[in-house]
């Protein structure tokens, strides 16, 4: 293991040790702040409870990502093709990022119910902006010399889009996707907080109400691991797709 990895591990272990000690020393009630040992115990023992809820949340996130891609990829492409459309839509794009998502959540639950749909839409809305913008930037970042060269070869716009702009934009697209994947988790959980019957976010609320705070932390732990796994997966996908870097 590299030296920096050793240091990170050391820092993490130190923090956990201080946490564990403080809980014991100050006799903190476990429903105010559970000790790491409690959390670990719950995470392991309650796997059969956590797993199905984690599955639901994971499904919401993945579907949200696909839904977002379905809209953002064509949209970014259209905006690149037609600068007047880009100018017209830019303010809305920025607004979609500025609107606090948790304000939207209750409305979505009223319109779409307690089921999957509202969470999927929440996740999709939250990552819509980073993905659209990074793809658009990627398109625009194509170096002029290549564009001219394609003109010299007699390529029309669609050929340029398919053979030049799209591959050129892929690295930018993937950075946007990596950000999106970690943020989509937030959207799904907020959706669950506002109205759900299953999922890790829902579990967190119920557990908190029942004073099972170590279960809350266990759910958070599972969420972090899920986010991390998705980020790693996208990174892996990125290396396969962008093999030339």
């Amino acid at each position: 293991m590299e030296r920096s990895n050793w240091i990170s591990l050391l820092i993490a272990l130190t923090v956990i040790a201080i946490w564990e000690f403080s809980c014991w020393w100050f006799s903190v009630p476990d429903f105010i702040l559970p000790a790491p040992s409690e959390i670990l115990k719950t995470t392991v023992l309650k796997t059969s409870l956590l797993l199905p809820h984690a599955g639901v949340t994971a499904l919401e996130i993945i579907m949200g990502i696909f839904l977002s891609l379905l809209v953002s990829v064509p949209l970014a492409t259209v905006m690149f093709t037609c600068p007047s459309i880009e100018r017209a839509l830019s303010p809305f794009l920025v607004a979609s990022q500025a609107v606090p998502v948790f304000a939207l959540a209750p409305l979505l639950v009223i319109w779409l119910g307690y089921g999957l749909a509202s969470k999927v839409l929440m996740a999709a809305i939250i990552i819509f902006f980073p993905i659209t913008v990074s793809l658009l930037e990627g398109y625009k970042n194509c170096e002029r010399e290549y564009m001219v060269f394609f003109d010299l070869m007699g390529a029309g716009f669609w050929k340029k889009l398919r053979l030049l702009y799209w591959p050129w934009a892929l690295p930018y697209f993937f950075s946007g996707l990596k950000v999106g994947v970690t943020v989509a988790t937030i959207g799904a959980v907020i959706g669950e907080w506002v109205g759900a019957q299953r999922g890790l976010g829902y579990l967190m609320i119920q557990a908190n109400a029942r004073l099972q705070v170590s279960l809350v932390f266990a759910a958070i732990l599972w969420l972090s691991v899920m986010g991390l796994a998705m980020w790693v997966f996208v990174g892996f996908l990125e290396k396969r797709v962008i093999y030339w870097k």
């Binding site: 003109d151 010299l152 070869m153 030339w244």
Partner: protein
């Protein structure tokens, strides 16, 4: 032949060229050489139509053309190979965009790769091969254009002296084996004298042909030709004078 007359281009009040004339006989190899900043690259941009011109006419093989966009093959100082395509896919790009049959293009490109010594590297991506190999690939790509007219914009200036030597020999093939009509820009006088049938020395802005040398001696054995040595000295003096003049 390529015929250009009365080419005029102004940029924000600066006259880069005015009434510029140029002819390249069919199958000929004409080189332009001049001091930096004399507008050589602007000339190519205007010829191809990347920049609109203010005045002038062009014709190729007797037919009037608005510009050379999609009418000439192009090779530049930067290889502009797409990093995500293999060398052979890069080479086939002009043919693919023009809609040529893929199998035919593949065969043609493969043969050219062998001819230029790149046979073993067809499927490598540009990042994995040297600058010289990339430029050779660019040369193959130039040949994959269907056009007879070839524009070379300082094609070898990014390479080291030794690689440049080997590629110069290959540039000759364009004319001798593939019967292309070539217009080249370079700042390397030796290179110009080695390869061309005709050498045009340019003035600084506003650009004009200051002197024209017709080189009829055979291309083989040009390095040791004393007459060419004299021309080289002469041109160097002129260009140096231009340089001193602008300081």
């Amino acid at each position: 032949m390529l015929s250009v007359s009365g080419l005029t281009k102004r940029f924000e009040g600066l006259t880069v060229m005015e009434g510029f004339d140029l002819t390249v006989p069919r199958g000929g190899f004409t080189t332009l050489i001049g001091p930096s900043g004399c507008g050589k690259s602007t000339l190519f941009d205007v010829l191809t139509g990347v920049f609109p011109r203010d005045d002038g006419r062009m014709s190729w093989l007797g037919e009037a053309v608005p510009d050379l966009m999609s009418r000439a093959a192009y090779m530049q100082q930067k290889d502009l190979l797409l990093p995500w395509l293999s060398l052979i896919d890069n080479a086939m790009l002009p043919a693919k965009i023009a809609g040529a049959d893929e199998n035919d293009s593949q065969e043609k490109a493969s043969a050219l790769f062998s001819r230029l010594g790149l046979h073993d590297f067809e499927n490598y991506i540009p990042r994995k091969v040297s600058g010289g190999m990339r430029q050779r690939c660019a040369l193959v790509r130039t040949l994959m254009f269907e056009h007879e007219l070839v524009l070379l914009d300082e094609p070898l200036s990014s390479l080291d002296a030794i690689t440049r030597r080997s590629l110069q020999a290959l540039l000759l093939l364009l004319q001798s084996e593939f019967n292309k009509t070539i217009l080249m820009i370079t700042h390397d006088i030796e290179e110009a004298l080695l390869l061309s049938d005709e050498l045009l020395v340019l003035t600084p802005i506003p650009m004009r042909v200051r002197e024209r040398f017709v080189l009829e001696m055979p291309k083989l054995g040009r390095n040791s030709n004393p007459e060419l040595l004299k021309i080289k000295e002469h041109v160097l003096e002129e260009l140096e004078g231009d340089l001193n003049g602008t300081i």
